[in-house]
Protein backbone atom coordinates (compact mmCIF):
# COMPACT_ATOMS: atom_id res chain seq x y z
CA UNK A 1 0.00 0.00 0.00
CA UNK A 2 1.39 3.42 -0.92
CA UNK A 3 2.22 5.71 1.94
CA UNK A 4 -0.17 8.67 2.15
CA UNK A 5 0.86 10.46 5.33
CA UNK A 6 4.27 10.49 6.88
CA UNK A 7 4.95 12.59 10.00
CA UNK A 8 8.18 12.57 11.96
CA UNK A 9 8.77 14.37 15.27
CA UNK A 10 5.91 16.87 14.83
CA UNK A 11 5.68 19.57 17.48
CA UNK A 12 3.29 22.45 17.85
CA UNK A 13 3.56 24.98 20.62
CA UNK A 14 0.87 27.60 21.25
CA UNK A 15 1.93 30.84 22.87
CA UNK A 16 -0.69 33.11 24.32
CA UNK A 17 1.11 35.89 26.12
CA UNK A 18 3.21 34.21 28.78
CA UNK A 19 1.22 30.99 28.63
CA UNK A 20 2.92 28.29 26.57
CA UNK A 21 1.07 25.10 25.64
CA UNK A 22 2.89 22.24 24.01
CA UNK A 23 -0.03 20.76 22.12
CA UNK A 24 2.11 18.27 20.19
CA UNK A 25 5.48 17.10 21.43
CA UNK A 26 7.09 14.81 18.88
CA UNK A 27 4.38 12.96 17.03
CA UNK A 28 5.33 10.23 14.55
CA UNK A 29 2.65 8.90 12.26
CA UNK A 30 2.47 6.79 9.12
CA UNK A 31 -0.84 6.34 7.33
CA UNK A 32 -1.35 4.31 4.16
CA UNK A 33 -3.87 4.93 1.44
CA UNK A 34 -7.21 3.33 2.23
CA UNK A 35 -6.79 3.18 5.99
CA UNK A 36 -9.51 4.18 8.45
CA UNK A 37 -7.69 5.56 11.48
CA UNK A 38 -9.53 6.32 14.71
CA UNK A 39 -7.70 8.64 17.10
CA UNK A 40 -8.89 8.77 20.69
CA UNK A 41 -7.53 10.48 23.76
CA UNK A 42 -8.37 12.89 26.56
CA UNK A 43 -9.53 16.40 25.95
CA UNK A 44 -6.59 18.71 25.32
CA UNK A 45 -4.45 15.81 24.14
CA UNK A 46 -3.69 17.49 20.82
CA UNK A 47 -6.08 15.65 18.49
CA UNK A 48 -7.50 18.68 16.74
CA UNK A 49 -4.06 20.21 16.51
CA UNK A 50 -2.81 17.13 14.71
CA UNK A 51 -5.70 17.13 12.23
CA UNK A 52 -5.14 20.82 11.54
CA UNK A 53 -1.51 20.12 10.71
CA UNK A 54 -2.27 17.15 8.46
CA UNK A 55 -4.93 19.21 6.67
CA UNK A 56 -2.62 22.17 6.13
CA UNK A 57 -4.70 24.57 8.21
CA UNK A 58 -1.79 25.15 10.55
CA UNK A 59 1.96 24.52 10.40
CA UNK A 60 4.19 22.53 12.75
CA UNK A 61 6.92 24.27 14.73
CA UNK A 62 9.30 21.41 14.02
CA UNK A 63 9.37 17.96 12.51
CA UNK A 64 8.52 16.92 8.99
CA UNK A 65 5.12 16.25 7.51
CA UNK A 66 4.35 14.89 4.06
CA UNK A 67 0.83 14.28 2.80
CA UNK A 68 0.15 12.82 -0.64
CA UNK A 69 3.67 13.66 -1.67
CA UNK A 70 3.29 17.27 -0.57
CA UNK A 71 5.65 18.79 1.97
CA UNK A 72 3.06 20.32 4.30
CA UNK A 73 5.62 21.23 6.96
CA UNK A 74 7.41 23.86 4.91
CA UNK A 75 4.83 24.91 2.29
CA UNK A 76 3.79 28.53 1.92
CA UNK A 77 0.35 29.63 3.04
CA UNK A 78 -0.61 29.97 -0.59
CA UNK A 79 0.61 26.49 -1.48
CA UNK A 80 -1.37 25.14 1.46
CA UNK A 81 -4.57 26.67 0.07
CA UNK A 82 -4.03 24.72 -3.13
CA UNK A 83 -3.08 21.61 -1.15
CA UNK A 84 -6.36 21.71 0.78
CA UNK A 85 -8.36 22.23 -2.40
CA UNK A 86 -6.82 19.18 -4.06
CA UNK A 87 -6.11 16.68 -1.31
CA UNK A 88 -8.12 17.34 1.83
CA UNK A 89 -11.72 17.08 3.01
CA UNK A 90 -12.65 18.32 6.49
CA UNK A 91 -15.62 17.34 8.65
CA UNK A 92 -16.21 19.06 12.00
CA UNK A 93 -18.21 18.44 15.14
CA UNK A 94 -20.40 21.49 14.57
CA UNK A 95 -20.73 20.89 10.81
CA UNK A 96 -19.43 24.35 9.85
CA UNK A 97 -21.91 24.89 7.06
CA UNK A 98 -22.48 28.41 5.79
CA UNK A 99 -25.80 29.38 7.31
CA UNK A 100 -26.99 31.63 4.48
CA UNK A 101 -26.42 29.06 1.75
CA UNK A 102 -28.64 26.05 1.04
CA UNK A 103 -27.34 22.47 1.13
CA UNK A 104 -26.57 22.40 -2.57
CA UNK A 105 -24.58 25.65 -2.51
CA UNK A 106 -22.68 24.56 0.58
CA UNK A 107 -21.51 21.46 -1.24
CA UNK A 108 -20.93 23.34 -4.50
CA UNK A 109 -18.67 25.78 -2.66
CA UNK A 110 -15.95 23.16 -2.31
CA UNK A 111 -16.05 22.56 -6.07
CA UNK A 112 -16.11 26.28 -6.84
CA UNK A 113 -12.97 26.65 -4.75
CA UNK A 114 -11.32 24.24 -7.18
CA UNK A 115 -12.46 26.24 -10.18
CA UNK A 116 -15.30 23.96 -11.26
CA UNK A 117 -17.76 26.03 -13.35
CA UNK A 118 -20.87 27.23 -11.56
CA UNK A 119 -23.45 25.02 -13.24
CA UNK A 120 -21.32 21.88 -13.14
CA UNK A 121 -20.58 22.47 -9.45
CA UNK A 122 -24.25 22.81 -8.58
CA UNK A 123 -25.20 19.79 -10.66
CA UNK A 124 -22.51 17.66 -9.04
CA UNK A 125 -23.54 18.91 -5.58
CA UNK A 126 -27.19 17.96 -6.11
CA UNK A 127 -26.14 14.55 -7.41
CA UNK A 128 -23.94 13.89 -4.41
CA UNK A 129 -26.63 14.98 -1.95
CA UNK A 130 -29.04 12.59 -3.66
CA UNK A 131 -26.55 9.76 -3.21
CA UNK A 132 -26.42 10.65 0.48
CA UNK A 133 -30.20 10.41 0.75
CA UNK A 134 -30.76 14.16 0.82
CA UNK A 135 -32.41 14.63 -2.58
CA UNK A 136 -35.37 16.43 -1.05
CA UNK A 137 -33.17 18.67 1.09
CA UNK A 138 -30.97 20.35 -1.54
CA UNK A 139 -32.78 23.67 -1.29
CA UNK A 140 -32.80 23.87 2.49
CA UNK A 141 -30.51 26.11 4.53
CA UNK A 142 -28.71 24.51 7.50
CA UNK A 143 -31.20 25.84 10.06
CA UNK A 144 -33.90 23.80 8.32
CA UNK A 145 -31.92 20.55 8.58
CA UNK A 146 -31.45 18.13 11.50
CA UNK A 147 -28.00 17.62 12.99
CA UNK A 148 -27.58 14.33 11.17
CA UNK A 149 -28.65 15.90 7.88
CA UNK A 150 -26.29 18.82 8.36
CA UNK A 151 -23.42 16.44 9.00
CA UNK A 152 -24.26 14.46 5.86
CA UNK A 153 -24.21 17.72 3.88
CA UNK A 154 -20.84 18.51 5.44
CA UNK A 155 -19.51 15.07 4.49
CA UNK A 156 -20.81 15.52 0.94
CA UNK A 157 -18.98 18.83 0.81
CA UNK A 158 -15.80 17.20 2.13
CA UNK A 159 -15.77 14.40 -0.46
CA UNK A 160 -17.15 16.39 -3.40
CA UNK A 161 -13.64 17.13 -4.62
CA UNK A 162 -12.54 13.47 -4.30
CA UNK A 163 -9.84 14.23 -1.70
CA UNK A 164 -7.07 11.82 -0.77
CA UNK A 165 -7.89 12.04 2.89
CA UNK A 166 -10.96 12.89 4.91
CA UNK A 167 -10.18 14.44 8.29
CA UNK A 168 -13.09 14.20 10.72
CA UNK A 169 -12.85 16.02 14.06
CA UNK A 170 -15.49 14.53 16.37
CA UNK A 171 -17.96 14.05 13.50
CA UNK A 172 -20.54 12.50 15.85
CA UNK A 173 -19.90 14.77 18.82
CA UNK A 174 -23.11 16.68 18.36
CA UNK A 175 -25.61 14.00 17.28
CA UNK A 176 -27.53 11.16 18.97
CA UNK A 177 -26.73 7.44 18.91
CA UNK A 178 -28.81 6.47 15.90
CA UNK A 179 -27.42 9.34 13.89
CA UNK A 180 -23.90 8.42 14.97
CA UNK A 181 -24.40 5.01 13.39
CA UNK A 182 -25.73 6.54 10.17
CA UNK A 183 -22.82 8.96 9.90
CA UNK A 184 -20.19 6.34 10.66
CA UNK A 185 -21.78 3.93 8.18
CA UNK A 186 -21.51 6.64 5.59
CA UNK A 187 -17.83 7.26 6.36
CA UNK A 188 -17.10 3.53 6.34
CA UNK A 189 -18.88 3.23 3.01
CA UNK A 190 -16.84 6.08 1.53
CA UNK A 191 -13.70 4.39 2.82
CA UNK A 192 -14.54 0.99 1.42
CA UNK A 193 -16.25 1.86 -1.85
CA UNK A 194 -14.39 5.00 -2.89
CA UNK A 195 -11.12 4.26 -1.21
CA UNK A 196 -11.12 7.54 0.72
CA UNK A 197 -8.57 7.46 3.52
CA UNK A 198 -10.27 8.53 6.76
CA UNK A 199 -8.76 9.84 9.96
CA UNK A 200 -11.35 10.50 12.62
CA UNK A 201 -10.84 11.93 16.08
CA UNK A 202 -13.32 11.10 18.82
CA UNK A 203 -14.15 10.64 22.51
CA UNK A 204 -16.79 8.07 21.67
CA UNK A 205 -15.71 4.38 22.02
CA UNK A 206 -18.62 3.46 19.76
CA UNK A 207 -16.49 4.60 16.83
CA UNK A 208 -13.64 2.20 17.55
CA UNK A 209 -15.07 -0.76 15.57
CA UNK A 210 -15.19 1.35 12.39
CA UNK A 211 -11.44 1.85 12.33
CA UNK A 212 -8.83 -0.30 10.75
CA UNK A 213 -6.43 1.13 13.34
CA UNK A 214 -6.85 2.78 16.73
CA UNK A 215 -4.40 5.37 18.08
CA UNK A 216 -4.40 7.17 21.41
CA UNK A 217 -3.04 10.70 21.64
CA UNK A 218 -2.22 11.81 25.15
CA UNK A 219 -0.30 14.93 26.23
CA UNK A 220 0.80 15.57 22.68
CA UNK A 221 2.25 12.13 21.91
CA UNK A 222 1.06 8.72 20.80
CA UNK A 223 1.63 6.78 24.03
Amino acid sequence: MPRLISAVGLTRVYRRGTRVVEALRGVDLEVDRGEFVVVMGPSGGGKSTLLNLIGGLDRPDSGSLHVAGFDVGTASQRALDGFRRRHIGFVFQFFNLISTLDARDNVALALLARGTPWKAARRRAAQLLAEFGLADRVGHVPAELSGGEQQRVAIARAVATAPDVLLADEPTGDVDGATTTAIMDLLADLNRRRGVTVITVTHDPALIPYGSRLLTLRDGTFG
Partner: protein, 368 residues
Protein backbone atom coordinates in the same frame (compact mmCIF):
# COMPACT_ATOMS: atom_id res chain seq x y z
CA UNK B 1 -18.43 35.07 -13.29
CA UNK B 2 -18.47 32.57 -10.44
CA UNK B 3 -17.43 35.28 -8.00
CA UNK B 4 -20.28 37.50 -9.17
CA UNK B 5 -22.81 34.69 -8.85
CA UNK B 6 -21.55 33.66 -5.47
CA UNK B 7 -21.63 37.25 -4.21
CA UNK B 8 -25.12 37.69 -5.59
CA UNK B 9 -26.37 34.46 -4.03
CA UNK B 10 -24.88 35.46 -0.72
CA UNK B 11 -26.59 38.86 -0.83
CA UNK B 12 -29.93 37.38 -1.82
CA UNK B 13 -29.83 34.75 0.91
CA UNK B 14 -28.79 37.38 3.45
CA UNK B 15 -31.71 39.56 2.40
CA UNK B 16 -32.28 41.51 5.59
CA UNK B 17 -28.74 42.69 6.02
CA UNK B 18 -28.37 43.48 2.33
CA UNK B 19 -31.52 45.60 2.44
CA UNK B 20 -30.35 47.43 5.54
CA UNK B 21 -27.00 48.08 3.94
CA UNK B 22 -28.61 49.59 0.84
CA UNK B 23 -31.07 51.54 2.98
CA UNK B 24 -28.14 53.05 4.84
CA UNK B 25 -26.27 54.15 1.72
CA UNK B 26 -29.16 55.46 -0.40
CA UNK B 27 -30.19 58.48 1.72
CA UNK B 28 -26.60 59.68 1.95
CA UNK B 29 -26.23 59.44 -1.81
CA UNK B 30 -29.55 61.24 -2.31
CA UNK B 31 -28.64 64.03 0.13
CA UNK B 32 -25.31 64.55 -1.56
CA UNK B 33 -26.86 64.73 -5.05
CA UNK B 34 -29.69 67.06 -4.02
CA UNK B 35 -27.40 69.51 -2.27
CA UNK B 36 -25.00 69.46 -5.20
CA UNK B 37 -27.88 70.13 -7.60
CA UNK B 38 -29.08 73.11 -5.56
CA UNK B 39 -25.58 74.55 -5.37
CA UNK B 40 -25.19 73.98 -9.10
CA UNK B 41 -28.47 75.78 -9.80
CA UNK B 42 -27.43 78.81 -7.78
CA UNK B 43 -24.11 78.90 -9.54
CA UNK B 44 -25.71 78.72 -13.01
CA UNK B 45 -27.82 81.69 -12.14
CA UNK B 46 -24.78 83.84 -11.52
CA UNK B 47 -23.63 84.08 -15.12
CA UNK B 48 -21.64 87.35 -15.44
CA UNK B 49 -23.61 90.35 -16.60
CA UNK B 50 -22.64 93.69 -18.07
CA UNK B 51 -19.83 95.03 -15.98
CA UNK B 52 -20.38 98.59 -17.08
CA UNK B 53 -24.08 98.90 -16.48
CA UNK B 54 -25.22 100.76 -13.42
CA UNK B 55 -28.46 99.82 -11.73
CA UNK B 56 -30.47 101.95 -9.38
CA UNK B 57 -32.66 100.02 -6.98
CA UNK B 58 -34.48 100.65 -3.74
CA UNK B 59 -32.15 100.69 -0.71
CA UNK B 60 -33.45 97.33 0.40
CA UNK B 61 -31.04 95.70 -1.99
CA UNK B 62 -31.36 92.23 -0.56
CA UNK B 63 -34.35 91.83 -2.73
CA UNK B 64 -34.81 94.60 -5.29
CA UNK B 65 -38.29 93.31 -6.10
CA UNK B 66 -39.60 94.30 -2.71
CA UNK B 67 -38.89 98.00 -3.23
CA UNK B 68 -40.39 100.74 -5.28
CA UNK B 69 -38.47 103.66 -6.70
CA UNK B 70 -39.72 107.21 -6.73
CA UNK B 71 -40.67 108.18 -10.32
CA UNK B 72 -38.40 111.21 -10.04
CA UNK B 73 -35.39 108.91 -10.28
CA UNK B 74 -35.95 108.64 -14.03
CA UNK B 75 -35.43 112.39 -14.48
CA UNK B 76 -32.80 112.71 -11.75
CA UNK B 77 -30.37 110.22 -13.35
CA UNK B 78 -29.91 112.06 -16.68
CA UNK B 79 -29.65 115.36 -14.77
CA UNK B 80 -26.89 114.10 -12.48
CA UNK B 81 -25.13 112.08 -15.14
CA UNK B 82 -25.33 114.61 -17.92
CA UNK B 83 -23.40 113.52 -21.00
CA UNK B 84 -22.02 110.46 -19.16
CA UNK B 85 -25.42 108.76 -19.31
CA UNK B 86 -26.37 107.18 -22.62
CA UNK B 87 -29.71 105.88 -21.44
CA UNK B 88 -31.72 105.27 -18.30
CA UNK B 89 -34.61 102.83 -18.53
CA UNK B 90 -37.07 101.71 -15.88
CA UNK B 91 -37.82 98.10 -15.11
CA UNK B 92 -40.72 96.54 -13.28
CA UNK B 93 -39.34 93.72 -11.32
CA UNK B 94 -41.61 91.54 -9.22
CA UNK B 95 -42.54 87.99 -8.49
CA UNK B 96 -45.85 86.98 -10.04
CA UNK B 97 -47.99 83.92 -10.19
CA UNK B 98 -48.40 82.45 -13.65
CA UNK B 99 -50.13 79.11 -14.24
CA UNK B 100 -49.67 78.26 -10.58
CA UNK B 101 -45.98 78.97 -10.49
CA UNK B 102 -44.16 81.82 -8.89
CA UNK B 103 -41.94 83.39 -11.50
CA UNK B 104 -39.95 86.57 -11.74
CA UNK B 105 -41.46 89.16 -14.03
CA UNK B 106 -39.28 91.77 -15.67
CA UNK B 107 -40.92 94.50 -17.68
CA UNK B 108 -38.78 96.93 -19.64
CA UNK B 109 -39.42 98.91 -22.81
CA UNK B 110 -39.23 96.37 -25.59
CA UNK B 111 -36.70 98.43 -27.58
CA UNK B 112 -34.22 97.99 -24.70
CA UNK B 113 -34.46 94.18 -24.51
CA UNK B 114 -31.69 93.54 -26.99
CA UNK B 115 -29.40 96.59 -26.76
CA UNK B 116 -29.58 97.15 -22.98
CA UNK B 117 -30.58 93.82 -21.44
CA UNK B 118 -28.89 91.62 -24.01
CA UNK B 119 -31.74 89.21 -24.52
CA UNK B 120 -31.13 86.85 -27.42
CA UNK B 121 -33.99 85.18 -29.27
CA UNK B 122 -33.70 81.38 -29.17
CA UNK B 123 -37.12 80.36 -30.50
CA UNK B 124 -40.39 81.95 -31.59
CA UNK B 125 -40.63 85.67 -32.28
CA UNK B 126 -40.40 88.85 -30.23
CA UNK B 127 -43.78 89.83 -28.74
CA UNK B 128 -45.91 91.70 -31.25
CA UNK B 129 -49.39 90.97 -29.96
CA UNK B 130 -50.86 92.79 -27.00
CA UNK B 131 -50.69 89.77 -24.69
CA UNK B 132 -47.40 88.26 -25.84
CA UNK B 133 -44.56 87.64 -23.43
CA UNK B 134 -41.07 86.14 -23.57
CA UNK B 135 -39.58 83.58 -21.22
CA UNK B 136 -35.94 82.74 -20.56
CA UNK B 137 -34.31 79.33 -20.62
CA UNK B 138 -34.35 79.08 -16.85
CA UNK B 139 -38.12 79.39 -16.77
CA UNK B 140 -38.51 77.04 -19.72
CA UNK B 141 -36.52 74.38 -17.91
CA UNK B 142 -38.08 74.98 -14.52
CA UNK B 143 -41.69 75.22 -15.61
CA UNK B 144 -41.56 73.16 -18.76
CA UNK B 145 -43.06 76.03 -20.73
CA UNK B 146 -42.29 76.76 -24.32
CA UNK B 147 -43.30 78.99 -27.21
CA UNK B 148 -47.08 78.82 -27.43
CA UNK B 149 -47.66 78.13 -23.75
CA UNK B 150 -50.49 80.18 -22.32
CA UNK B 151 -50.95 81.24 -18.75
CA UNK B 152 -52.84 83.68 -16.64
CA UNK B 153 -51.13 86.66 -15.02
CA UNK B 154 -53.30 88.95 -12.92
CA UNK B 155 -56.43 87.58 -14.55
CA UNK B 156 -55.25 88.06 -18.11
CA UNK B 157 -54.19 85.19 -20.35
CA UNK B 158 -50.78 85.73 -21.89
CA UNK B 159 -49.06 83.71 -24.59
CA UNK B 160 -45.36 82.90 -24.69
CA UNK B 161 -44.20 84.07 -28.11
CA UNK B 162 -40.44 83.95 -27.53
CA UNK B 163 -37.88 81.81 -25.79
CA UNK B 164 -34.86 83.97 -24.99
CA UNK B 165 -31.45 83.71 -23.45
CA UNK B 166 -30.64 86.25 -20.76
CA UNK B 167 -27.40 86.83 -18.88
CA UNK B 168 -26.72 86.96 -15.16
CA UNK B 169 -29.54 87.35 -12.68
CA UNK B 170 -31.96 87.52 -15.57
CA UNK B 171 -31.37 83.85 -16.24
CA UNK B 172 -34.83 82.83 -15.08
CA UNK B 173 -37.51 85.41 -15.77
CA UNK B 174 -40.61 86.28 -17.74
CA UNK B 175 -40.31 89.39 -19.89
CA UNK B 176 -43.14 91.74 -20.75
CA UNK B 177 -43.13 95.08 -22.58
CA UNK B 178 -43.05 97.90 -20.00
CA UNK B 179 -46.21 99.63 -21.13
CA UNK B 180 -48.22 96.40 -21.05
CA UNK B 181 -47.07 95.68 -17.48
CA UNK B 182 -47.97 99.18 -16.29
CA UNK B 183 -51.39 98.73 -17.77
CA UNK B 184 -51.75 95.27 -16.25
CA UNK B 185 -50.85 96.47 -12.76
CA UNK B 186 -52.85 99.66 -13.29
CA UNK B 187 -49.88 101.77 -12.26
CA UNK B 188 -49.92 100.25 -8.77
CA UNK B 189 -46.57 98.62 -9.11
CA UNK B 190 -44.30 101.52 -9.97
CA UNK B 191 -40.87 100.38 -11.05
CA UNK B 192 -38.15 98.72 -9.02
CA UNK B 193 -35.03 99.28 -11.04
CA UNK B 194 -33.46 101.73 -13.42
CA UNK B 195 -30.77 100.47 -15.74
CA UNK B 196 -28.23 103.14 -16.61
CA UNK B 197 -26.05 102.64 -19.66
CA UNK B 198 -23.01 104.93 -19.45
CA UNK B 199 -21.92 106.83 -22.52
CA UNK B 200 -18.82 105.48 -24.29
CA UNK B 201 -15.67 106.78 -22.62
CA UNK B 202 -17.44 107.89 -19.45
CA UNK B 203 -15.78 107.37 -16.07
CA UNK B 204 -18.28 104.83 -14.80
CA UNK B 205 -16.94 104.67 -11.24
CA UNK B 206 -17.25 108.43 -10.87
CA UNK B 207 -20.72 108.32 -12.40
CA UNK B 208 -21.80 105.66 -9.93
CA UNK B 209 -20.49 107.75 -7.01
CA UNK B 210 -22.27 110.87 -8.28
CA UNK B 211 -25.54 109.02 -8.58
CA UNK B 212 -25.08 107.50 -5.16
CA UNK B 213 -24.44 110.92 -3.62
CA UNK B 214 -27.46 112.41 -5.39
CA UNK B 215 -29.67 109.66 -4.03
CA UNK B 216 -28.82 110.48 -0.45
CA UNK B 217 -30.08 107.12 0.76
CA UNK B 218 -33.36 107.17 -1.14
CA UNK B 219 -31.99 104.57 -3.50
CA UNK B 220 -28.96 102.34 -3.89
CA UNK B 221 -26.61 102.39 -6.85
CA UNK B 222 -24.65 99.37 -7.97
CA UNK B 223 -22.72 98.09 -10.89
CA UNK B 224 -24.87 95.39 -12.36
CA UNK B 225 -21.94 93.01 -12.07
CA UNK B 226 -21.79 93.65 -8.30
CA UNK B 227 -25.44 92.83 -7.95
CA UNK B 228 -24.75 89.64 -9.82
CA UNK B 229 -21.80 88.96 -7.55
CA UNK B 230 -24.07 89.46 -4.58
CA UNK B 231 -26.42 86.88 -5.99
CA UNK B 232 -23.41 84.75 -6.74
CA UNK B 233 -22.46 84.95 -3.08
CA UNK B 234 -25.57 83.01 -2.31
CA UNK B 235 -24.35 80.51 -4.86
CA UNK B 236 -20.97 80.24 -3.22
CA UNK B 237 -22.60 79.96 0.19
CA UNK B 238 -24.51 77.08 -1.29
CA UNK B 239 -21.26 75.85 -2.75
CA UNK B 240 -19.76 75.83 0.71
CA UNK B 241 -22.84 74.10 1.99
CA UNK B 242 -22.48 71.52 -0.75
CA UNK B 243 -18.80 71.12 0.04
CA UNK B 244 -19.53 70.68 3.74
CA UNK B 245 -22.33 68.26 3.04
CA UNK B 246 -20.07 66.43 0.62
CA UNK B 247 -17.47 66.06 3.34
CA UNK B 248 -20.13 64.90 5.76
CA UNK B 249 -21.49 62.64 3.07
CA UNK B 250 -18.07 61.16 2.39
CA UNK B 251 -17.48 60.64 6.09
CA UNK B 252 -20.93 59.13 6.56
CA UNK B 253 -20.47 56.90 3.54
CA UNK B 254 -17.04 55.79 4.69
CA UNK B 255 -18.25 55.27 8.25
CA UNK B 256 -21.29 53.39 7.06
CA UNK B 257 -19.41 51.33 4.50
CA UNK B 258 -16.66 50.51 6.93
CA UNK B 259 -18.88 49.64 9.83
CA UNK B 260 -21.32 47.59 7.80
CA UNK B 261 -18.40 45.66 6.39
CA UNK B 262 -16.84 45.28 9.84
CA UNK B 263 -20.15 44.12 11.30
CA UNK B 264 -20.60 41.64 8.50
CA UNK B 265 -17.10 40.47 9.21
CA UNK B 266 -17.65 39.96 12.94
CA UNK B 267 -20.75 37.93 12.27
CA UNK B 268 -19.15 36.03 9.45
CA UNK B 269 -15.65 35.27 10.65
CA UNK B 270 -16.65 31.64 10.81
CA UNK B 271 -17.83 31.69 7.19
CA UNK B 272 -14.48 33.14 6.19
CA UNK B 273 -12.84 30.32 8.14
CA UNK B 274 -14.97 27.75 6.33
CA UNK B 275 -14.01 29.22 2.98
CA UNK B 276 -10.36 29.04 4.01
CA UNK B 277 -10.77 25.39 5.04
CA UNK B 278 -12.22 24.64 1.62
CA UNK B 279 -9.11 26.11 0.09
CA UNK B 280 -10.27 29.58 -0.97
CA UNK B 281 -7.23 31.83 -0.94
CA UNK B 282 -7.39 35.07 1.09
CA UNK B 283 -7.45 37.06 -2.12
CA UNK B 284 -10.40 35.08 -3.47
CA UNK B 285 -12.30 35.81 -0.27
CA UNK B 286 -11.36 39.48 -0.44
CA UNK B 287 -12.41 39.50 -4.09
CA UNK B 288 -15.74 37.98 -3.18
CA UNK B 289 -16.31 40.51 -0.41
CA UNK B 290 -15.36 43.39 -2.70
CA UNK B 291 -17.74 42.14 -5.38
CA UNK B 292 -20.42 41.89 -2.74
CA UNK B 293 -19.58 45.44 -1.64
CA UNK B 294 -19.69 46.66 -5.23
CA UNK B 295 -23.15 45.19 -5.79
CA UNK B 296 -24.36 46.91 -2.62
CA UNK B 297 -22.79 50.16 -3.78
CA UNK B 298 -24.49 49.92 -7.18
CA UNK B 299 -27.83 49.23 -5.54
CA UNK B 300 -27.39 51.96 -2.93
CA UNK B 301 -26.28 54.49 -5.50
CA UNK B 302 -29.07 53.60 -7.93
CA UNK B 303 -31.69 53.91 -5.20
CA UNK B 304 -30.21 57.13 -3.83
CA UNK B 305 -29.84 58.58 -7.32
CA UNK B 306 -33.42 57.71 -8.20
CA UNK B 307 -34.64 59.29 -4.98
CA UNK B 308 -32.62 62.44 -5.70
CA UNK B 309 -34.03 62.65 -9.24
CA UNK B 310 -37.55 62.17 -7.90
CA UNK B 311 -37.11 64.94 -5.34
CA UNK B 312 -35.56 67.27 -7.93
CA UNK B 313 -38.33 66.49 -10.39
CA UNK B 314 -41.05 67.53 -7.96
CA UNK B 315 -39.09 70.70 -7.20
CA UNK B 316 -37.90 71.45 -10.72
CA UNK B 317 -37.46 75.07 -9.77
CA UNK B 318 -36.88 76.67 -6.47
CA UNK B 319 -37.69 80.21 -5.51
CA UNK B 320 -35.30 81.92 -3.17
CA UNK B 321 -36.86 85.29 -2.41
CA UNK B 322 -37.77 86.41 -5.89
CA UNK B 323 -34.96 84.61 -7.64
CA UNK B 324 -35.85 81.45 -9.44
CA UNK B 325 -33.16 78.91 -10.00
CA UNK B 326 -33.08 75.51 -11.58
CA UNK B 327 -31.27 72.72 -9.74
CA UNK B 328 -28.74 71.18 -12.07
CA UNK B 329 -26.76 67.98 -11.74
CA UNK B 330 -23.76 67.97 -14.04
CA UNK B 331 -22.15 64.71 -15.06
CA UNK B 332 -19.24 65.51 -12.74
CA UNK B 333 -21.52 65.42 -9.69
CA UNK B 334 -22.72 61.97 -10.66
CA UNK B 335 -19.19 60.84 -11.28
CA UNK B 336 -18.00 62.11 -7.90
CA UNK B 337 -21.00 60.50 -6.22
CA UNK B 338 -20.36 57.15 -7.86
CA UNK B 339 -16.66 57.31 -7.09
CA UNK B 340 -17.37 58.15 -3.46
CA UNK B 341 -19.96 55.44 -3.02
CA UNK B 342 -17.73 52.80 -4.52
CA UNK B 343 -14.46 54.06 -3.13
CA UNK B 344 -15.58 54.26 0.47
CA UNK B 345 -17.63 51.09 0.35
CA UNK B 346 -14.83 49.07 -1.14
CA UNK B 347 -12.16 50.62 1.05
CA UNK B 348 -14.24 49.83 4.13
CA UNK B 349 -14.76 46.27 3.01
CA UNK B 350 -11.12 45.83 2.19
CA UNK B 351 -9.79 47.33 5.41
CA UNK B 352 -12.18 45.34 7.55
CA UNK B 353 -11.46 42.10 5.74
CA UNK B 354 -7.75 42.42 5.26
CA UNK B 355 -6.75 40.69 8.49
CA UNK B 356 -9.49 38.11 8.80
CA UNK B 357 -9.10 36.82 5.26
CA UNK B 358 -5.42 36.17 5.89
CA UNK B 359 -5.83 34.67 9.39
CA UNK B 360 -5.10 30.99 9.80
CA UNK B 361 -8.36 29.22 9.09
CA UNK B 362 -8.48 27.20 12.29
CA UNK B 363 -8.32 30.33 14.43
CA UNK B 364 -11.43 31.66 12.68
CA UNK B 365 -13.29 28.43 13.33
CA UNK B 366 -12.11 27.98 16.91
CA UNK B 367 -14.04 30.93 18.22
CA UNK B 368 -17.21 28.98 17.72
Amino acid sequence: MTVLRLAWRDLVSDRVRSTLHIAAIAPIVAAYLILTAIAGGLRDQAVPAEAQHIVVVSPNALDPASGRLDPSVLTLVPQVGGPDVASATPMIFRPIRMADRIVQLRAAPQDTWEPVHHLALLAGSWPDQRDDIAITEGVAIAAGWNVGTRGEIFGTTFTVSALVRAPGTKFASVWMPYARAEELFEGMSGFQMVTVVPAPGADVAALRDRLDAAGGGRFAVYFESDLVAQQGARGSAADNLAAVSTVIGVAALAFCGFNLAALTLVERRRDIGIARVLGFAPRSITGLALTRGAILAVAGFALGGAAALAVLATAASTTLRSFVFVPSLPAAAWLIGITLTFGTGLAGTWLALRRAAASAAHTLLEEW
